[in-house]
Amino acid sequence: MTIIPKDDVAAGAVPVTRAIRLRPAVRHYLIAAVIAVAAVIPLVASSFVTFQVTEVMIYGLAILGLNLLIGFNGQFSLGHSAFYGIGAYTTAILMHNYDVAYYWTVPAAGVVCFVVGFLFGLPALRLQNLYLALATFALGNATPQILKFHALESWTGGVQGLVVDQPDPPDFLSFIDGDQWLYYFTLVVILVMFAAAANLIRSRTGRAIMAIRDNSIAASAMGINLSLYKTLTFGVSALYTGVAGALGALAVAFVAPDSFTIFLSISLLVGLVIGGVGSIPGCIFGGLFVLYVPNIANSLSTGLAGAIYGVILLLVVFVMPAGAAGFVRYAAQRLSPRRRNPSTRTEGGMS
């Protein structure tokens, strides 16, 4: 694992996981296997487990949005609950007030969040590091109250929130139930979004985004328009999280201001670090952590759930300091027959 020198104080404390470099064939087989397993889950699992895995994917997508910003661009945000909430409300309002079909509301939520994220990014990105964290924290704190604000109540439903109709499967798929359909719908959206993110990161734009993280002065000297790329990254990050919010509204079938508090931002941030900062597949591990670990803690002791959550979190951070993705990479290296070849080993505090 490589620790990249950065001039970014906020993200600098977090080790960044580089993409796992497998041979292309192995990589393709692995992706195909994961998709195959994912496609089978709803056919063999109960509808409740299907619902939970849907939520895992949705949180994973929201974490991917945050990861594009923190992991790849080195900017910090505590306000992604706001984008998740705006995405969810876009879907709910379009479906509830304007009878728009659910599948159109998902791209609409992405566009709305991109615009909001871009506009918020314009002034906010003049702030550096911790100050940006504070500005986004303010956004996260303000959003639930804005959603309750009475001038918007005819749209947002105020404190009562809005009920969303759970989508039914299309007629030619009428043999599967609502939970299964939502799972496949989410799976397709997630696959497209993850593939797009992977392509973005590998592109010229992606290299510019990462160059800003690694050394913004050098990036600037090489002709990268810092403010433009930073603002765009903020917008794209908001788009990803907003699409996750839209899917979340469909899965839960209800939105209310109390669903999108600052605690959601913190959960996403925890999921990001656990999954692996700067790792795209790691985001799904983050989603697993966000959904399941509070349940595990609660099942061990209701009264001490918070403390147990903390202990599990500490253990995970000690065992996998580079997140789940870094751990997998480390394990793969250890098990690889070529591991004695020093050229395939990377430096870093893993051994």
Partner: protein
């Protein structure tokens, strides 16, 4: 079936054949989560997160079921009470309630806490036809037996309270000029609607309707405006912070209307002390539960029952916390419904019994308050008693007042 005759068996065959698909033969009288030995109940509550100060409500329920089990259960069945943390976030409530219904296969969900959390599962519960019994929130919408026959509320809702204030005003000051201060959201508007409905054709008595936003710094101008317009009946339905400001401001400008304070703002510690106890003298409000901190209940049988339960099953629980009073009361309600069900423990029968409570009471309701429901009336507690503040504590006076809708 107590007497098995040939005729009854013959008669039962076609019926059984029809129902066989839906119900396995042996479980004809049992819904999911019920056996001869056990009834599984589900619950969610905020054990963590921003609203965790409400966690005594589910904790008291769990302790109450432990007591019931120690006493032999209900009709010989022990209660398996499964309560999950939802951190007061609606998506988590949905996940946990789905887990309860689909994985744990509970018989019913008893008193989940919070208006947004209950709203999130409202449709799910009614679609799945699983009882959502005695929810721990005061919104008016839970009393909707037609639209949502699987959900029932418990505490007097805000609209009923508004009606009670109207009744009181018509009795005490029928020529009054009324000013209402309310929070500009659903619960505030519930109060205003209740007062208007209660006044009926005398709704024109309301000459000022002043709202505030929770983001407002003060409500001083609303109070000054009411005095200037000659309001002499002040209905103050604000939450503690703003209720206190209004009481203090009224005291400062020497305004002495008939001041009615709603039950959400009538805490001595949270509202009246910050407002200045001398300013709060002669304010009237309404109560339905016994205030556990009030020494006048020291020798009351109901209070003693509750205190004994607390000492044995929640020795670490703070008896000053009204959440333990609410939780124990809610569990006692569910226990009564299960008792009434006898051996016919189906979800349909639960809602039928929840909708046929007759003069049932629990220890910590004020003396004389009883719970009554019908198939078209899902608001168990409808009565409250007015109390006047004497500068130190609330003194109950007058008869119980009914204010329910319908």
């Amino acid at each position: 079936m107590k007497h098995l005759t040939r005729r009854s068996i013959l008669a039962a065959v076609p019926v059984a054949a029809l129902t066989l698909k839906a119900w396995p033969a042996r479980a004809a009288n049992y819904g999911p989560g019920v056996t001869d030995k056990e009834i599984k109940l589900g619950n969610t509550g905020p054990y963590s997160g921003p609203a965790s100060s409400y966690s005594p409500v589910p904790k008291a329920q769990a302790a109450y079921w432990k007591m019931i089990n120690d006493q032999g259960g209900i009709n010989g069945r022990t209660i398996n009470f499964i309560s999950y943390d939802d951190a007061y976030t609606p998506p988590k409530t949905v996940e946990m309630v789905r887990k309860l219904v689909e994985e744990d296969k509970v018989f019913l969900v008893a008193s989940p806490l919070g208006t947004p959390c209950n709203s999130a599962i409202w449709h799910y519960m009614n679609e799945k036809k699983v009882p959502q019994l005695f929810v721990a929130t005061g919104a008016t919408k839970w009393d909707d037996p037609k639209g949502h026959p699987w959900t029932i509320g418990w505490q007097p809702n805000y609209q009923s309270e508004g009606r009670i204030y109207a009744t009181y005003i018509l009795k005490e000051k029928s020529d009054g000029k009324i000013g209402v201060l309310y929070q500009n959201d659903d619960f505030g508007k519930d109060y205003v609607k209740g007062v208007k409905d209660g006044l009926g054709d005398k709704a024109s008595m309301i000459i000022v309707e002043a709202s505030y936003e929770t983001t407002d710094p003060t409500v001083d101008s609303q109070v000054v405006d009411m005095k200037a317009k000659g309001v002499d009946v002040f209905v103050n339905t604000a939450i503690p912070k703003f209720a206190a400001q209004a009481i203090r401001k009224a005291g400062e400008i020497g305004w002495k209307p008939l001041h009615i304070l709603s039950s959400i703002g009538n805490s001595v510690g949270a509202t009246l002390k910050p407002a200045g106890l001398e300013n709060a003298k002669d304010i009237v409000s309404d109560f339905y539960l016994k205030d556990a901190t009030d020494p006048k209940w020291k020798d009351d049988a109901g209070y003693k029952t509750w205190a004994a339960f607390m000492d044995k099953y929640l020795p670490d629980g703070d008896k000053q916390d009204q959440g333990y009073v609410a939780g124990a009361s809610l569990a006692a309600m569910t226990a009564q419904v299960l008792k009434q069900c006898g051996d016919e423990l189906t979800r349909e029968n639960v809602m039928k019994q929840a909708g046929s409570l007759h003069d049932f009471t629990v220890p910590m309701l004020l003396p004389g308050i009883t719970c009554n429901t019908t198939a078209t009336d899902f608001a168990p507690v409808k009565q409250v008693q007015m109390a006047k503040f004497d500068g130190e504590r609330w003194n109950l006076f007058g008869d119980l007042i009914r204010g329910a809708i319908g």
